[in-house]
């Protein structure tokens, strides 16, 4: 007798929930699931998007990418290099900034706003600013280097330095990562620090033994998000270097874009997208699987 009304309530709640998420489901199916499946299918064709005849080509696009396309290898190398430096650097810098801005100092809100602001500046505008910052003769970065006694660096014209330049530029957008860290830091119970202080713990010890372990879920989240976005690095290279000099900033997404929208080789570009998806998915899975060894959920 009592089970029936409860089940009705449960069913009603489920229905209400489904109705609320229905717009998301519809949008997901239309704008995510269908395009993903369509891209997967087209990766086995020579679809040009503008062409009328599309042929099934089997694994040919994948074979071309993995064996015959020299720019594929170059773009993979460039992207891995970029990820290898920009992700750890971004995570560490954002964490340090969050630690500093979490301290009770005057004007904290203003500092937080200032550090967050660049991440809402459009990439095109930011890129123009960075072109000036990286200028060899009059750029502020070389000016600082010269003050320290170093010779000027050809940031954007030397293939050796172009990638590091874009890695430095990637720090411009760490504001959002920093805000997530700040939220995580403010969730750490104060009593833990107080107890540690009673035991005579130093600042460094508290950081290593309390802050970092309790922040690992946030670090994990930021690591996954930054990894995914670093794989998709595009705007800075597209606007500032165009993939040059001498292909040193030809990142994977730029290579994919060129094939899709400049050469209209949508089938091949779809294959590149599928490969990227598999790599990102695999890496995310790896990070997720290893997370139980280093992520601490209190």
């Amino acid at each position: 007798m009592t089970a029936r009304p409860r089940s009705l309530r449960v069913r009603l709640r489920r229905w209400v929930g489904l109705v609320f998420i229905a717009p998301w489901i519809v949008a997901f199916v239309m704008f995510e699931a269908i395009p993903i499946l369509s891209g997967f299918y087209h990766s086995f064709t020579d679809w040009s998007a503008t062409g009328t005849a599309t042929r099934f080509v089997g694994w040919a696009n994948y074979r071309e990418a993995l064996t015959r396309d020299p720019l594929f290898q170059k773009s993979v190398y460039n992207t891995i290099y970029y990820i290898g430096f920009s992700v750890p650097l971004g995570i560490l810098t954002a964490f340090i900034l969050a630690l500093l801005l979490n301290r009770p100092i005057r004007g904290t809100t203003l500092y937080r706003t200032i550090y967050y602001l660049p991440s809402v500046v459009p990439t095109v505008a930011a890129s123009i600013v960075w072109i000036f910052i990286f200028e060899t003769r009059r750029g502020i970065l070389n000016f600082a280097l010269e003050l320290l006694g170093f010779p000027p660096i050809r940031w954007l014209s030397d293939p050796t330095w172009a990638k590091p330049a874009l890695i430095i530029m990637s720090l411009w957008g760490i504001g959002s990562t920093m805000v997530i860290y700040l939220a995580g830091l403010q969730g750490i119970p104060q009593e833990l620090y107080e107890a540690a202080e009673v035991d005579g713990a130093t600042g460094w010890y508290k950081l290593i033994r309390i802050t970092v372990p309790l922040m690992t879920p946030t670090i994990f989240f930021n690591l996954v998000m930054n990894l995914v976005s670093a794989f998709q690095v595009f705007n800075s290279a597209f606007i500032i270097t165009g993939g040059g000099p001498f292909n040193s900033t030809l990142f994977y997404m730029l290579h994919l874009y060129n094939n899709a929208f400049r050469y209209f080789r949508m089938g091949y570009a779809s294959a590149l997208a599928v490969l990227l998806f598999l790599v990102v998915f695999g890496l995310t899975l790896f990070v997720y699987r290893t997370s139980d060894r280093w992520v601490y959920y209190s």
Partner: protein
């Protein structure tokens, strides 16, 4: 719970299925042409049933004529709408950096803009894929005289016996010009000089280029470090990009190798290397007043014809003179030549998906901005740049904004029309890889071009394997 009620209950699985069906339905609906639009493969012939006079047809016009040019375009639109009260043109300027992406998306959709601006390479590709309407029949019906255009200009938009666009601006005038800053010569106490050969150019550049440990302070001349310049100099050394039948590459010929060697040596010896040159011209764009040409830091410039408009804007008091691009005097066959249609040749197309009742209006607008003297012709005149229509360029008012107009026309006469394939963008990028390889010393010019030729040939062969000659 009665069995009847239980049967009526919708499970979550059913609900999700319903959502899936709804989403698919919406996706299909989004890809279907709007009611009343019929997509056919016929030419841009006027629709049989003319619209009622009261009905206003809207033409969405996608183009990249931004900045000061947008206002000029709006003036043409105002005149056109006054002449055609049943047509309204919506001027939709596209951001240049997202142009290709937008163009592709528009053409792939069921409801593209009625008139789109595109490059020649894109137009040939779209024509080859049957995505745009041939305008050959419309040209005949409107009794347009295509001989008013320079043959090399109108010739750029024919593909397999059909015309797909008319030009505006010129596809020529892109590489044929050599401009000299007379103010810099005067400041150095030198007599005006305009190099006519590669050797003369080297001598003048060597004399004027100033460098320090950070790079170039003033540049005599920059022969360029990329594929555009390589192609431009190649034609001034009696070379060519493709064979006449477009079946094989021709840029890795002895002329091509000599051209690239000359560019590399010039860049290294006179300008101190490709990095120096890149740094010197670094900035947010080529057409900005910060560029060395507008600041007396570049003696010789090889710009396209848009430079006249920018000079009026950024440095109207500059004293300058001009001639045609220098040629390789070491090659007896070589002469000064410009390229028409290889790159930066723009046209306007009407997508196949445009409804029959809008095609005539779209063609009228296309005609206005390309064929009509008070349309595209006026637009070019206002910018001080040449028109693809011969009679427009004979307008004496050009001399008011450009005292060397006769020399501009002479330079245009050196232009040769270059035949290209729909896969030209890909071939071009491959050649660029080769040029970069030589510039950065990763390969000799001969090796770099040989490798580029091999890769480009594979692309050409792939194209011809799926297309009839």
């Amino acid at each position: 719970m009665s069995p009847k009620r239980s049967d009526r209950r919708m499970t979550r699985r059913t609900f999700l299925r319903l959502m899936g069906v709804t989403a698919t339905g919406m996706a299909i609906a989004a890809c279907t042409p709007p009611a009343g639009q019929v997509s056919t493969t016929e030419g841009a012939a006027p629709a049989e049933a003319s619209p009622a006079p009261a009905q206003v047809i809207e033409i969405r016009f996608w183009n990249v004529w931004g900045a000061a040019r947008e206002e000029l375009m709006n003036q043409i639109i105002a005149r056109f709408e006054a002449e055609n009260p049943d047509i309204k043109v919506k001027n939709l300027v596209q951001p240049f950096e997202r142009r290709a992406e937008n163009l592709f998306t528009a053409l792939a959709s069921a409801d593209p803009p009625e008139v789109l601006m595109a490059t020649r390479a894109e137009i040939l590709k779209f024509a080859d894929d049957g995505l745009i309407l041939p305008i050959t029949d419309s040209v005949k019906q409107h009794e347009l005289d295509l001989d008013r255009f320079y043959p090399s200009e109108i010739g750029n938009f024919w593909w397999k016996g059909e015309l797909y666009s008319m030009p505006m601006p010129t596809g020529g005038g892109i590489t044929c010009l050599e401009l000299v800053n007379l103010d810099m010569l005067a400041a150095a106490g030198k007599e005006p000089v305009i190099p006519k050969t590669w050797r003369e150019l080297e001598d003048v550049a060597r004399e004027f280029t100033e460098r320090d440990e950070k790079g170039i302070l003033k540049i005599g001349a920059n022969p360029g470090t990329g594929v555009s310049d390589f192609f431009a100099w190649l034609y001034c050394n009696n070379g060519q990009i493709y064979s006449d039948d477009l079946k094989t590459t021709a840029f890795a010929s002895p002329e091509g190798v000599a051209t690239l060697e000359w560019m590399v040596n010039f860049t290294n010896e006179i300008n101190g290397g490709v990095e120096n040159v890149t740094d010197f011209f670094a900035g947010p764009g080529e057409a900005t007043e910060a560029q060395p040409w507008y600041n007396d830091r570049q003696l010789i410039n090889f710009p396209n014809v848009s430079v006249f408009f920018h000079m009026q804007t950024y440095k109207p008091d500059m004293q300058w003179d001009m001639d045609v691009r220098p040629y390789n005097d070491a090659n007896p066959q070589a002469k000064s030549q410009g390229l028409s249609g290889e790159t930066f040749a723009w046209g306007y197309v009407i997508p196949q998906a445009v409804s029959a009742e809008k095609r005539e209006a779209a063609f009228k607008w296309l005609k206005k901005i390309t064929y009509d003297v008070d349309g595209g012709g006026w637009f070019m005149l206002q910018q001080g740049r040449p028109s693809p229509i011969r009679e427009v360029n004979e307008d004496p008012s050009y001399y008011k904004v450009n005292p060397h107009w006769d020399k501009v026309l002479k330079a245009l006469e050196t232009d040769v029309s270059v035949q290209i394939l729909p896969v030209h963008t890909r071939v071009r990028d491959i050649v660029d890889q080769g040029v970069q390889s030589a510039m950065f010393g990763a390969a000799t010019p001969a090796e770099a071009l040989a490798q580029a030729a091999q890769q480009a040939q594979a692309v050409i062969d792939e194209y011809w394997s799926t297309h009839q000659g």
